[in-house]
Amino acid sequence: MARKNYRRRLKAPLTAKKGEVITIKTMAEHTMEPGVRRDPKTGLIYPRFIIDSVIVRYNGKQIFRSRWYSGVSENPYMSFKIKVEESGLLEIEWIDDYKQSTFKRSVINVLDNNGNEIFPIRLSEPSQSENLQ
């Protein structure tokens, strides 16, 4: 039962062009308890248990953040857009009310007009190669 609140889903394109704006769809399976609901038999109130914040990072840099309160529906779905200039790792972090964090990651390959991949680290640049020698 407890396992159910920690399932996450992420849908992102595998490849994209340089400078393209891509949509990312996320969903977290979570019973967002607002802290007002009662058990019908015993009359006890379920304590509040919600996802507090969602943080989006691309290549380790934070690009988007959101703060949620008890008004967000259960199994919260969110879709947003990001701009990609180079291929990298997209990671999304959901943080609970009890400061428990869960991750989901995916890799996006960004291609040039010629079909070559643009890497975040370029070793072929002359300035870097001179420093290495």
């Binding site: 949620w68 967000v72 990001i82």
Partner: protein
């Protein structure tokens, strides 16, 4: 027992907290106790400490639309609203108040200072009017977003965009709810 030996007893006792430490801890406690009341009244801090959102809710609260208006005034702070800055979309009639899909988009080029720092979403007749805040940056390509929210009764949904320049935009949408959620 002699009087002198009786008082010598107390001299040898080593208390776990010194008198100075106890005084300092009492000072801190009184400061926190006092500041918490100020937070609740909205005299200091942001508008999001209203109605004890930071604490666990363990009781049913009735909606208070006057307080929702006060929260919106705290966000806007008397600035002029820009026209056609933010566009909010929501269904006219929502059968289930537990899941109401909404989406918004901000009219701006995300270059330089022309991007929304914060976008607030509020429902006026909910007991806890603030629903979400979204913090954008230059790297998020366009400020389009879709999310699902809860509504207890039919009321207005408000989206407020605070740009990095300091300008503000607002959009409202009225949603009819047939079966309300318990939030």
């Amino acid at each position: 027992m002699n009087k002198q030996t009786y008082f010598k007893k107390f001299k040898n006792i080593k208390y776990p907290i010194s008198r100075r430490g106890l005084l300092i801890s009492f000072m801190f406690y009184s400061f926190f106790h006092f500041s918490r009341k100020l937070y609740a009244n909205g005299e200091i801090g942001g508008p999001f400490r209203d109605r004890f959102q930071s604490f666990r809710q363990t009781f049913r609260v009735e909606p208070n639309p006057e307080e929702a208006k006060r929260i919106i005034n705290n966000i806007i702070k008397g600035r002029d609203k820009r026209n056609n800055l933010i566009l909010l979309n929501a269904p006219d009639i929502a059968e289930n108040g537990n899941v109401v899909p909404i989406n918004f988009s901000v009219n701006c080029s995300m270059n330089g200072n022309d991007y929304p720092k914060v976008v607030h979403i509020l429902v006026l007749d909910n007991p806890f009017p603030e629903i979400a805040k979204f913090f954008f940056s230059n790297q998020s390509g366009s400020a389009d977003l879709a999310i699902r929210i809860r509504m207890r009764q039919s009321s207005e949904v408000v989206a407020i965009a605070e740009m990095a320049d300091g300008t503000v935009g607002e959009d409202r949408f009225f949603v009819d709810v047939t079966i309300g959620a318990c939030s």
